[in-house]
């Protein structure tokens, strides 16, 4: 976890717009000694930040290390609430696990858990999520909306819209949503979202949104069984992308959508979601634990439930399924 002092120093650099900040000024802002400032600058250098120090002028950050540490995400973050508390670890079993623990301990809304590697990343029904070191965004976000648990699934669709918008903001790549919240580029999965709830019967304590985004993997970074179904932003774009910039964009988009949702309800989100959806109007198969349903995806309900028109014209509501797109 970032210390308060470190947060204040990073915020000071955020406000300085690349200008030099004197050691004296930084010490005043952070409420510490100039020696402590110097020590923090040394720590940041040790973490890979390139810091220019000029006599009589002070310090400025000229290059960030390309990690997803709290310091690097905070530097340039424009949100008010989301990502204002960051818990970074180099390697974890799963960011969801840590998020569950922190949420139970009372972590504030917007707390972000992020790691450079997950050794036991997981997806739906306990499936493994491949999350090798330094290549992707492996993160969990804690929200505490004042909503009944029945509304919580809508937040997973908000997450999907935020991911599509953030990918476009940073990479200019166009991606699409496969119900409910897989993000695809050219029918290959680039982002998966899995959400878990801590709730009592009538209120949400915490909602933990896990997002896995393939960013800088090469084709050879994927295990052979994923060649056909997974891709990364780097493979699609032909160049690497800063993961910290993507996280910043994701948090900013998410916060905007979340505020719209809390003030105006789900309808504006639904319209956005449908505009990015790949499966609407197409023949799909919904694979559930109790069987396959075939039909044409008609859209989603006001709650985000998938409407599937079956052969006989019956509209079936799908709450849980893997969606397979039928070949044209």
């Amino acid at each position: 976890m970032q210390t308060d002092l470190r947060k204040k120093l990073i915020d000071a650099f955020n406000l300085s717009n690349g200008e030099f900040l004197s050691g004296q000024k930084l010490a005043e802002i952070a409420g510490c000694s100039r020696t402590a400032v110097w020590k923090h600058m040394e720590d940041l250098r040790h973490d890979g930040f390139v810091i220019e120090a000029v006599r009589k002028k002070g310090y400025r950050i000229v290059k960030v290390p390309g990690k997803v540490s709290g310091d690097e995400i905070s530097l340039g973050l424009k949100t008010e609430r989301l990502g204002r508390t960051i818990h970074y670890e180099e390697s974890v079993e799963s960011t969801q696990k840590i998020a569950h623990r922190l949420a139970a301990e009372g972590a504030p809304e917007g707390t972000l858990i992020v790691a450079d590697e997950q050794t036991m990343g997981r997806g739906r029904l306990g499936r493994k999520w491949h999350s090798p070191k330094y290549t992707g965004i492996w993160t969990s976000l804690i929200l505490r909306p004042d909503l009944p648990p029945a509304k919580a699934p809508q937040l997973t669709l908000i997450a999907a819209v935020a991911a599509v918008q953030a990918i476009e903001d940073v990479t200019e790549l166009t991606s699409q949503i496969k119900w409910p919240n897989d993000i695809l580029i050219g029918k290959k999965k680039v982002t998966g979202i899995l959400t878990e709830l801590q709730a009592e019967s009538d209120r949400i304590n915490a909602i933990i949104i896990g997002i896995g985004m393939n960013v800088n993997q090469r084709v050879t970074d994927f295990p052979p069984e994923l060649f056909e179904t997974a891709t990364s932003l780097s493979i699609e774009k032909g160049e690497d992308t800063s993961r910290a910039s993507l996280i910043q964009a994701l948090l900013l988009r998410f916060e905007n959508l979340y505020d719209i949702y809390l003030s105006q309800g789900f309808l504006p989100i639904k319209l956005l979601w449908e505009s990015y959806a790949i499966s609407i109007g197409q023949r799909i198969i919904a694979r559930t634990l109790t069987g396959d349903y075939k039909g044409i995806a008609q859209g989603i309900t006001d709650d985000g439930v998938l409407k599937l028109e079956e052969e006989d014209g019956n509209i079936r509501q799908i709450y849980s399924a893997d969606i397979l797109l039928e070949e044209e």
């Binding site: 306990g126 997973t156 959400t195 634990l289």
Partner: protein, 168 residues
Amino acid sequence: MLKVQEIRELIKLIDQSTIDEFSYEVEGVKVKMKKGANMQTVQAPVNTVSVETVQPAAVQTPAPVQTPAVAVAAPVQEQKKEEVKDTANLHKITSPMVGTFYQSPTPDADAYVKAGSKVKKDSIVCIVEAMKLFNEIEAEIDGEIVEVLVKDGQLVEYGQPLFLVKPE
């Protein structure tokens, strides 16, 4: 042929009405519904319980299959009567949202609980999933699971009873 959805709607309607008995015939398929006659004799506080028990039975028909109406209607009646007898002193764990009921964390794993399992307030008893949001449901009471009212993979409604628990 009546669809399961339609039968479900009918049961709901009848349940909410003051009608005690109902029969309906279309294209050779007959549906007969009767509210438990002995329910009225049960004391007032328990009355609310008996109304709720109608729901699990109604929805227990596996939603996807277009089962002939008759086959569905019959078990509804029997089960209702049985439950009314037993559930008076039992606690119900209900679903906080519409979604798919999973008895275990992954398809290969053992069920969280089964009939006879002892549970604490914070024991996880199942998962309800909708739109890749996984809600681990806690028992919220100390006791023993008497009956699991739904099947793995089944769609459950908001407020639908999932387990009967004998409180300790």
